[in-house]
């Protein structure tokens, strides 16, 4: 049996071993996710193998997958940051009859049991609508894009751009490529502010990396002022980490989209166990405020809710950012 292999962590639970590969170890969001995984595994009695980490490197992910399979994993939860390059691995896993649940990203090709993901296009859309409304349909907005090679970043950028174009043509958008680097974002914003001192909105696609640099820069330019002040810069962030909530409470930023790290972990494990148990799912509403949609033949996606957090609901205890560390 595989249970005596050190790869299977002694979580006290029996049953088929389920493997989790974490996409990276250097981001706040994913580290929160990583913390929820063992917690939910314990809660639902899952035999969790020691999670591996692919350090944002698709080649490592493939290697990890192979190692986990040889160690006897019966289902694998992964979050391929490169959604194209995982195709062959998915085919191999399908041949070995090992179900896969992907989290946060949807592979471009290949079969998976379930995609657990929030709708990234909705993030962009929500941010656009919030800013458009606050700015009254005119003004100048800086958008910190992620990386062009990230599907989530691309989805957010595209939805944001489409929405701005259709609904708020009076708003000029400066889209800054940042490769998810805070320093790049800071430099771009600094340059843009010199060029257009009247910038009055910022959309950052990842609070974890952009929040502190942005606030630091605005602070040094004395641009952190209450919304009532005409100099106020409206900021929408994305992720929902505790620091963003603090900033909202202090009035430094105005909103963020809470990307549900807890639900990602919970439902990823839920579907992995369900797959091992032989359950199947159909498109439609679920019992947890979300919708399963069939995105293409053989791929179902559970689109978890990603609430927009503003001053009004920032203290909602249901938000994962408010549970962490408590």
């Amino acid at each position: 049996s595989t249970n005596d292999s050190p790869g299977a962590a002694a979580s006290g639970a029996g049953g088929a071993p389920i493997a989790v590969d974490l996409p990276r170890a250097d981001s706040d969001f994913w580290n929160s996710y990583a913390k929820y995984i063992p917690q939910y595994a314990k809660d639902s009695g899952i035999n969790l193998m020691t999670p591996t980490n692919s350090q944002n490197d698709i080649a490592k992910l493939v290697a990890n997958t192979q190692a986990l399979t040889s160690q006897g994993a019966k289902a694998i939860v992964m979050a391929p940051q490169d959604t194209g390059a995982i195709a062959t691995t998915l085919t191999t896993l399908e041949q070995k009859k090992i179900p896969v649940v992907t989290v946060d990203t949807r592979p471009d090709k290949g079969k998976v049991f379930m995609v657990v993901r929030a709708d990234n296009r909705a993030y962009g859309q929500k941010a656009c609508e919030f800013l458009g409304e606050k700015l009254g349909g005119k003004g100048k907005v800086v958008e910190f894009q992620g990386s062009l090679s990230s599907v989530n970043g691309r989805d957010r950028s595209e939805a944001f751009a489409e929405c701005m174009q259709q609904k708020y043509p009076g708003i000029t958008v400066f889209a800054e490529p940042t490769e998810w680097e805070g320093a790049k974002a800071s430099a771009a914003l600094q340059t843009r502010l010199a060029q257009h001192p009247d910038i009055n909105g910022i959309y950052m696609q990842a609070g974890g990396v952009f929040l502190a640099p942005t606030l630091q820069l605005l602070r040094s330019k004395n641009l952190i002022v209450p919304p009532s002040d005409p100099k106020h810069v409206f900021i929408v962030s994305n992720d929902g980490i505790p620091q963003e909530f603090d900033a909202i409470r202090k009035g430094e930023i105005d909103a963020t989209v809470s990307q549900p790290a807890d639900l990602y972990a919970k439902y990823a494990l839920f579907y992995a166990k369900a797959a091992v148990d032989g359950k199947t799912f159909q498109p439609g509403k679920t019992d947890h405020d979300s919708t399963i949609v069939q995105v293409r033949d053989g791929v179902l996606e559970d689109q978890l809710p990603a609430p927009l957090v503003t001053k009004d609901n920032v203290d909602d205890t249901a938000l994962w950012g408010n549970q962490i560390g408590k």
Partner: protein, 336 residues
């Protein structure tokens, strides 16, 4: 006027050295054995055929890059841009043949051309590096660093940062086929390494690379067409990088915009741990191959051991440092 003193008989003062040189080649064998033992103790899965084949297959692309880099390093030069060629060459080959709807360039040339185009792109990149370094006399380090950025940028430019995944079967073939139960890519690497070891060890042009790296002026004085040989080396390296790109493409089933990103550090680590000198003229392909294996086994063992995600990178780095110190102590020579 000047009279020089006679000297007595000239004693043979030093022992034959090749034995040491060969030892340097084998310096990593104990490390490899140790890793195999540790791996087997950590998880019985480790020594299974399937796991070892996986380790080998995962290292095929890296090993081709290391081969390419080793050739260049032996010749006394430097190429950082190989990792970008791994992405750009297949991307270009594919983008030229697939329809614009699949993020192609719209040229839609015959699908059969994808592989030749990819390899040609690799050769051209190598040639361009050669021109800038040999012809213009620019520093190899900085030229290929510029190339690294530019080529990656070009790939992002032509694909818009998207992964390409409507790939013609010919492009997938190499990285995605098995012969006699072993992935084709392992066969390909084995053949290329055998050819490389033979060429560097027993053929005049291979030896010329050592001579050039050891002392370019001396090589030129011995009638070696040093520039011509180095152009060939750069182009072969580009070709190998493109081939590595094809293997990776077939293995992963698509071409990501970041394909190959960050590999160059590993390439150098493998080569130098394997005893290849950064100063040229020294090192063997066998040693470099051992370096690749060490890195691959370390990664595999760390994964199987379930080292926590939080510390795995630190452990990996430490293991490399320790391997270096051990290689230093076993061969007893300063590294360069």
């Amino acid at each position: 006027m000047t009279t020089t003193l006679p000297a007595g008989e000239m004693p043979v003062r030093r022992r034959a050295v090749p034995r040491l040189a060969r030892m340097r080649d084998l310096a990593l064998v104990p490390a490899i054995v140790a890793l195999l033992v540790v791996g087997a103790l950590i998880d019985p899965v480790f020594l299974t055929r399937a796991n070892l084949v996986n380790v080998l297959q995962q290292q095929t692309e890296l090993s081709l890059l290391v081969l390419a880099e080793t050739l260049i390093l032996i010749g006394g030069r430097f190429d950082l841009s190989l990792e970008s060629t791994v992405g750009l060459a297949p991307a270009l080959g594919v983008a030229l043949v697939i329809p614009a709807a699949s993020h192609g360039l719209g040229t839609e040339w015959a699908t059969a051309l994808a592989v030749p185009l990819c390899l040609l792109a690799g050769v051209l990149v190598g040639a361009l590096n050669g021109v800038l370094i040999l012809r213009f006399g620019l520093s190899a380090f900085i030229v290929t660093l510029g190339m690294l950025i530019t080529l990656r940028g070009v790939q992002i430019g032509i694909t818009g940062g998207q992964s390409l995944f409507d790939l013609p079967p010919s492009v997938m073939y190499l990285g995605n086929t098995a012969w006699l139960g072993l992935p084709l890519s392992i066969w390909v690497c084995a053949v290329i390494f055998a050819a490389g070891i033979a060429a560097l060890g027993w053929f005049r042009h291979g030896r010329a690379v050592y001579a050039i790296g050891g002392n370019t002026d001396a090589a030129r004085a011995a009638g070696i067409r040093t520039d011509r040989v180095m152009y060939a080396v750069f182009m072969i390296a580009g070709l190998l990088a493109a081939l590595a790109g094809l293997l990776m493409t077939g293995r992963l089933g698509s071409i990501a915009a970041a394909q190959g990103d960050g590999m160059i550090f590993k390439v150098f680590a493998a080569a130098v741990i394997g005893g290849v000198s950064m100063n040229g003229g020294k090192g063997t392909l066998f040693g470099a191959l051992c370096g690749v294996l060490v890195l691959g086994l370390v990664e595999n063992v760390l994964t199987l051991a379930g080292v926590s995600a939080q510390w795995i990178q630190a452990v990996y780095g430490l293991v490399i440092l320790v391997a270096l110190v051990l290689a230093r102590l076993t061969t007893g020579r300063a590294q360069d």
